[in-house]
Symmetry: C2
Subunit: 358 residues, 2 copies
DNA sequence: TTGAAAGCGCTACCAG
DNA sequence: CTGGTAGCGCTTTCAA
């Protein structure tokens, strides 16, 4: 059984294929009556315009690539993807995912093979640096590059990035202003091959500490642990090993802060009673555990990146090609001034519920 | 500046376009030498085969659709998507996401518009029931349908589902065997328009309770709360409202269990001292909070669903068209026999870490 | 407002 | 092993 094609519809509605085509893509050029008949016939024949043919004819691919370090399943990457997809999908584009452009091998595979060339209308790069040589290679395929949290603005046509350095600076300042004077920064070892934007957070921490240390007593240290499933446990042990347990901890990401908060409590260090804790991301469960954190909105960043890409594809320069957003300090319950010793309050709200008893 | 096409490459390497084409797609049909020259030329010209043209020619679309209730950003949906994408992407397919096929409106928009018809080679349906009428409509477009956690097997050509009913039955039995006799099941109100597979878990809980209640004293109840951001808080309040606080709580999902565990502790109910708790999913932080839970692996389910789809697309029936997987009880620390009153132990492992002091 | 026809870039059949 | 060529389904210009 052959699939219905545009000419079947044309025949069945007694018009030419040009008219059928127009009925779908330029409704205004077809008389109301004809158009209605065509649409009805098409529907009953289960016909739809072929995207491949349209794409081929148009010279566009209606496809974009999203390059990510690590997996899509991390909170940040999922949000970015969902944000991009929400606008690109609506605009008629598919988004092709390329994960793990992080190891030297995958990276070189990708950039020498360049599977995307001639097959995408734009490429998004999330959370890592494209090196100039790679950028040039990408650029040669005449496709706009838009960066999301790329460490530099240099190798893309547009970008949107969170100010990681400043964000962690603010978080650290917050702890310092609370009177904390023995700080630790818990983070994962940087991936040397990738220059992830997240590493700028360390710089922010260090800057705040150095600055404060000039005018008052301040101890601080960086606790950097190997990546991997047990990274939070590693940090936990490392912190417990310190001769003086810190009275303030900044975490590179909430996924570090949350396990730390929970497990430190099990080891006798309760926050904010014994120390103040601040995270970064405002990712899932940050509110549940009442974590004070720097909020960023990667979904929105994805959407904005997609808009920029769309502009670029259509030949206009985007309004703000390179945009920086500032994360916001969300004050919850994991931080407290030096004196306070309150336990964390979980916020309880009124509720409605069905109770079914057996 | 015109884009390089297959004929530029043909000309530049002194062969015909057929040969160029074959060099890419049927390397074995081209002499080693010729092929190498072509590939080199193509590379230097930044040429690549056009997927749109290939698709058009082949009659396939090299695109599949993934229909989801709710957002892709939930843990389950992300995992499924990532699993599907990992195999489909490798096989040369794009996956198109259609989120929120859950409200009556979105649903009818989708199924009357059917934006996918003629434009995908397969459709995946995740976590909700396609009704027979919709299935027929989908089927008419001659595209295999593969279900993931669909409540029934009837409206798909292949499927892979977790046994939600049995899973929750096992979880509940576990609590009963521990000697718990006052059980609560915490869940979200079902979405009436959607018949999500997750609702079968309730049935499993009820079955275990009814069964046990015939031979011994057992109180049980279902605490069902409205969906939405505050669902765990609603459940919390509802539980605290009960005249006798339960000594065993089953949660529909870990995202219910985890906040409950944390917030109940803040309200004086510590698990497993005061009650036993079991979740469902083994999603992020379940291990961190030491939650006993039923594990499922949606990433793997996605991969398997994708393999089935690939078989179907290529005309072979998949090995097991309809597959059911059984979730696995992961014993951690949130459950205990009636007597025990130990506090939760977080597991601490040895570690290596760099300590950098400022 | 509609129709005829060229051609997007590729693949596959058929010849050589 | 290689080349010529028809045609996949659509859009678009040009004519009517």
């Amino acid at each position: 059984m052959k699939k219905t094609g545009i000419r079947d519809v044309a025949k069945a509605s007694g018009v030419s294929i040009s008219t059928v085509s127009r009925a779908f893509t330029r409704p205004d050029l077809v008389s109301e009556k004809t158009r209605r008949k065509i649409l009805k016939t098409a529907d009953s024949l289960d016909f739809n315009i072929s995207r491949s043919a349209t794409a081929l004819k148009s010279g566009q691919t209606y496809r974009v690539a999203l390059l990510m370090n690590e997996e899509i399943t991390s909170w940040f990457n999922t949000q970015v993807f969902a944000g991009i997809d929400s606008v690109m999908h609506k605009a008629g584009y598919d988004v092709d995912l390329f994960e793990h452009i992080d190891t030297a091998k995958n990276r070189s595979d990708f950039f020498t093979t360049l599977p995307v060339r001639c097959n995408v209308d734009a490429v998004f790069v999330a959370s890592f640096a494209v090196d100039p040589h790679e950028a040039k290679r990408l650029r040669r395929i005449h496709v706009p590059i838009v960066g999301i949290n790329t460490p530099t603005t240099a190798n893309s046509d547009a970008s949107i990035s969170i100010d990681d350095e400043q964000g962690m600076y603010v978080a650290t300042r917050h702890l310092i202003e609370l009177g904390r004077h023995n700080l630790a920064y818990a983070c994962s070892d940087p991936v040397t091959s990738i220059n992830s934007s997240i590493d700028a957070r360390t710089t922010g921490f260090v800057r705040a500490c150095r600055e404060a240390a000039t005018t008052r007593d301040l101890d601080w240290r960086i606790v950097s642990v190997p990546r991997g499933k047990a990274f939070a446990d590693s940090a936990l042990e490392a912190l417990l090993t310190l001769e003086d347990f810190p009275d303030g901890i900044c975490c590179q990401i909430d996924m570090m802060a949350i396990p730390l908060m929970i497990k430190l409590a099990g080891r006798g260090h309760t926050c904010p009673r014994d120390y103040s804790l601040v995270g970064f991301d405002d990712s899932p469960y940050a509110d549940t555990v009442n974590l004070t954190t720097m909020r960023q909105d990667p979904y929105l960043m994805g959407m904005k990146a997609a808009s920029k890409a769309l502009s670029l594809i259509n030949g206009h320069a985007p309004d703000h090609a390179h945009e920086t957003v500032t994360p916001e300090l969300i004050l919850r319950g994991s931080d407290a001034p030096r004196e306070t010793t309150d336990a964390i309050q979980t916020d309880a709200r009124p509720t409605q519920a069905n109770i079914i008893t057996g």
